[in-house]
């Protein structure tokens, strides 16, 4: 029975444990319930990934109603991949959160915090698995609203403005998405993605060519794309991101940076391939011509700005914008290799950003702040944390034998396969910039001396260090034995592209 319903349980379990957390009321109990829910989701996600690899697309009719009438859950390989990333990061973050949350969030808010974390988690998973364009909007809003709360629940007042700005832009993005879906609905009469894709290729009732060539559908695509760009934080729509990641509680920064943008990218893929796939959006709109330059400029500008940041979390946030740029480049190429590289980078970026933010969280736990000046020499006294930080940093730069290298390599290859020499050179330039900003952090943490008279610092508690190290080792593991991840992302890309082929 569980196998049959796994696809829905993976989303619904955390969704329903969230109110349970509130009923339980106490922070520790809520934490326990949340951890159990997330871990079982992780197990189910692995199970689903295996099945998708074996059997192809999985389907589930919610309420027992056949698709265009009811909502359908439809899990393809790309979805399963992102789902696995999200649940894996969740499974690592939750044990970590116990100590960190106690330090950073007021006691009476703990149960609410875990409830919101679960809702955000469930919303993100819902996006990965849904086959219905409107249901995607609902899931998006669940995760977004929960995110706004998560960001602002800490004690830093700057998180409030960050969350507010995120709320405004996020709502605009979601509304754009809604407009796009509305246009598509008007031209197709359905909300099911596959049904939409089918009708888009049909001839119009008035006999004027296929539906996808109408101006309405083009406008719809434009709205969907811009709305999703906002969620992805693609340059120049990234303004909300740095402060959100910088001032949110550590656990939230780690979780969001590793998952939220990835899921948003999946939404983009859904728009481009699953919904509009057969109409090949890249022909209808100048997407590649705008997306690749925006992405590359974004990667450069963000890397450059990151160098001048004096706050570690802000620095990492800007680097996230740059990394999102890489993924967007891969998608903008509109080739299978590019798409596969993007998906692979998605996995790897989740691991490395997760590592880095968790490691920074360990430091925050002991030091209480993230300004670079205040962290001089801290790494020397926290050897395990700084090991994780260094590994994550190397991966971010893209040093061989780390995860970051493999995906950057794949991306560069995809770029060069289309002879975009300048793009490749610019990607390398932004990698060079990443050496500078990562080097700066490592330099301050490890090489500078603690100011005289500073109180000695201990290593963070075991339950925080252990998850951090697990992810850090993931960086190495996916750098050395990355063939499986690469194979899965290649297959996922192939599947998405094959959907395009008529």
């Amino acid at each position: 029975m569980i196998a049959e319903h796994a696809i829905i349980l993976v989303v619904v379990l955390p969704l329903l444990v969230a109110p349970l957390c509130v009923l339980l009321g106490r922070g520790t109990l809520a934490w326990g319930a949340a951890t159990l829910a997330v871990w079982s989701s992780f197990g189910l996600a692995l199970h689903l990934l295996g099945r998708v690899l074996e059997e192809g697309v999985l389907r589930y009719q919610l309420g027992g109603w056949a698709p265009p009438v009811g909502i359908e859950y439809r899990l393809d390989l790309a979805g399963a991949l992102v789902m696995t990333i999200v649940t894996a990061i969740g499974a690592v973050v939750l044990p970590y959160s116990f100590a960190s949350v106690r330090r950073e969030i007021d006691e009476h808010r703990h149960a609410w915090f875990y409830a919101c974390l679960l809702l955000c988690f469930a919303g993100l998973l819902g996006i990965t698995v849904t086959g219905d364009a409107f249901n995607l909007f609902v899931s998006l809003e669940i995760s977004s609203l929960a995110t706004y709360v998560l960001v602002s629940i800490g004690r830093d007042r700057r998180a409030l403005t960050a969350a507010f700005r995120y709320l405004l832009l996020g709502t605009v993005g979601a509304t754009f998405y809604l407009i796009g879906v509305g246009f598509l609905y008007q031209m197709t009469g359905t909300l099911n993605m596959e049904d939409m894709a089918r009708i888009l290729t049909e001839a119009r009732p008035d006999g004027l060519g296929p539906v996808h060539s109408t101006k309405t559908v083009r406008a719809a695509l434009a709205f969907l794309t811009v709305g999703t760009f906002l969620k992805i934080a693609l340059f120049p729509l990234h303004v909300w991101l740095p402060n959100v990641y910088a001032y949110a509680p550590s656990v939230v920064s780690a979780f969001l940076s590793a998952t939220a943008t990835k899921v948003a990218i999946l939404v983009l893929l859904r728009v481009f391939y699953t919904v509009d796939g057969k109409a090949t959006p890249f022909d209808a709109l100048p997407i590649a011509d705008t997306m690749v330059p925006l992405a590359i400029v974004g990667a450069l500008v963000a890397s450059f700005v990151a160098i001048y940041q004096r706050d570690v979390k802000r620095l990492l946030a800007y680097s996230s914008i740059a990394q999102v740029g890489y993924m967007a480049i891969g998608i903008g190429l509109a080739t299978q290799a590019g798409l596969a590289a993007s998906l692979l980078h998605m996995i790897n970026h989740a691991i490395m950003k997760g590592t880095l933010f968790l490691a920074v969280g360990c430091i925050v736990y002991r030091v209480g702040q993230t300004r670079l000046e205040g962290l001089r020499g801290v790494g020397r006294e926290m050897p395990l944390t700084s090991t994780a930080l260094v590994l994550g940093g190397l991966s971010l730069i893209g040093v061989p034998l780390t995860a970051g290298f493999v995906s950057k390599w794949a991306l560069l290859q995809a770029v060069l396969a289309d002879s975009h020499w300048i793009v490749a050179a610019l990607i390398l330039l932004s990698s060079l910039l990443s050496i500078l900003y990562v080097g700066q952090v490592i330099h301050v943490l490890l090489l500078r001396k603690r100011p005289p008279g500073a109180a000695p610092i201990q290593e963070a508690p075991l339950w925080m260090v252990l998850p951090t190290l697990v992810l850090a080792i993931g960086n190495l593991w996916f750098g050395i034995a990355s063939d499986q991840a690469a194979e899965v992302s290649r297959q996922a890309a192939e599947f998405l592209i094959r959907e395009v082929a008529p």
């Binding site: 109110p19 009719q61 909502i71 609410w112 409830a115 919101c116 669940i142 009469g189 359905t190 406008a219």
Partner: protein, 353 residues
């Protein structure tokens, strides 16, 4: 005739939107927004969307406007002038947006055209022709909301739940050991000076609550359902709060109870789905609930509507309580500060300068 009403209402909307853009006074902007919602709700009635009209009226004119007003009461109505450069930029972006949309409308089917894909797609017929027979429920929106797209509604309930938790987490009153010192005039709170208003309005509260129950139960046959009922229920409680003060209202339904109710509603909804799975059906397949599938559907829809109603009523009440408490604390602190200042000024005249 419908078209004429439609157009006049749209003209009203346009004038309000322009006024809202131009006005410098936040209070009038908020009031205009209220009217805007009211008119659009009327427009929804003209466009046959009665359920939406009910919700928009309850939410737009009711909840949103009042929340904005409470916020304004504690933040003030002052607005600093906007720099011109920013206005030009905003205008440019809006025009680009509008141009894209106009471009999009060029190929749209005209309003109400029966040839539009929205109406020719088989699912449209399914919802209007098969569904009443299959479900035995005259209001086509209700089964669509609660069963065909019941999962969306679960998500919607989760969103409401999140909002409730979020507001609690942000401005919910801390369970502090030392509560704020209470200024005596505020202890009673509410409109205690207006005796007549109090007496008259008090009589209105039970009908409102009763009416909420009617809307909850009658959703199968007419406009209404859990969400609308929840909002109406909450507005009844809000009336009570306005008349007798938030402290009193908090004693009637304790915030802790509300918090648990928020969770309970969502759990009821999800629980139905899990029971369906245990019964061997798909998630939210109510037909498994009874031997006769139609009965099962009715049970299921009633139960989840109840869940929605509970969560929504609890969340809206919680939100309004939290906002009102926040405002009250704000006013009280201010008064205390001023009093202390006044005392200090009286005792030592030099310090005032």
């Amino acid at each position: 005739m419908g078209v004429a009403i439609d157009i006049i209402l749209l003209l009203f909307l346009l004038s309000i939107a322009f006024a809202a853009c131009v006005t410098r006074n936040l209070f009038s902007a908020a009031m205009l927004f209220g009217i805007f919602s009211l008119i659009s709700a009327t427009l929804f009635v003209v466009l046959d969307a009665v359920d939406v009209a009910m919700t928009e009226a309850a939410v737009g004119t009711g909840v949103s406007t009042i929340l904005i007003l409470i916020t304004l009461a504690s933040t003030g109505y002052r607005v600093s002038p906007r720099p011109a450069g920013r206005q030009v930029l905003a205008l440019a972006v809006s025009v680009v947006l509008g141009a894209t949309m106009v471009y999009g409308t060029l190929d749209m089917p005209s309003l109400g055209s029966p040839d539009a894909p929205v109406h020719t797609h088989p699912i449209a017929q399914y919802y209007t022709e098969v569904s009443p027979v299959e479900m035995g429920i005259p209001n086509m929106v209700t089964p669509l909301l609660a069963s065909y797209r019941g999962y969306d509604t679960l998500g919607e309930t989760a969103v409401v739940f999140t909002a409730g938790i979020g507001v609690l987490a942000l401005i919910g009153r801390r369970r502090r050991k030392d509560p704020l010192p209470i200024v005596e005039e505020f202890r009673e709170g509410g409109a205690n000076r207006h005796r007549v208003l109090r007496v008259i309005s008090k009589q209105l509260i039970p009908p409102i609550l009763l009416y909420a129950c009617y809307v909850q139960a009658h959703g199968d046959f007419g406009p209404g359902g859990g969400f609308q009922a929840g909002v109406i229920f909450a507005s009844g409680l809000m009336l009570f709060m306005l008349l007798f003060g938030v402290e009193h209202a908090r004693r009637i339904i304790r915030p802790v109870v509300l918090e648990k109710l928020i969770a309970l509603g969502l759990l009821i909804y999800g629980g139905v789905g899990l029971v369906n799975i245990l019964q061997g059906g798909a998630f939210l397949d109510y037909r498994t609930l009874a031997h006769d599938p139609q009965h099962g559907l009715h049970y299921g829809i009633l139960t989840i509507e109840l869940g929605v109603g509970i969560t929504v009523a609890a969340v809206i009440t919680t939100i309004i309580y939290s906002f009102a408490s926040h405002l009250r604390d704000h006013v009280m602190q201010r008064t205390l500060r001023l009093r202390q200042g006044a005392d200090a000024a009286q005792t030592s005249p030099e310090s005032g300068a």
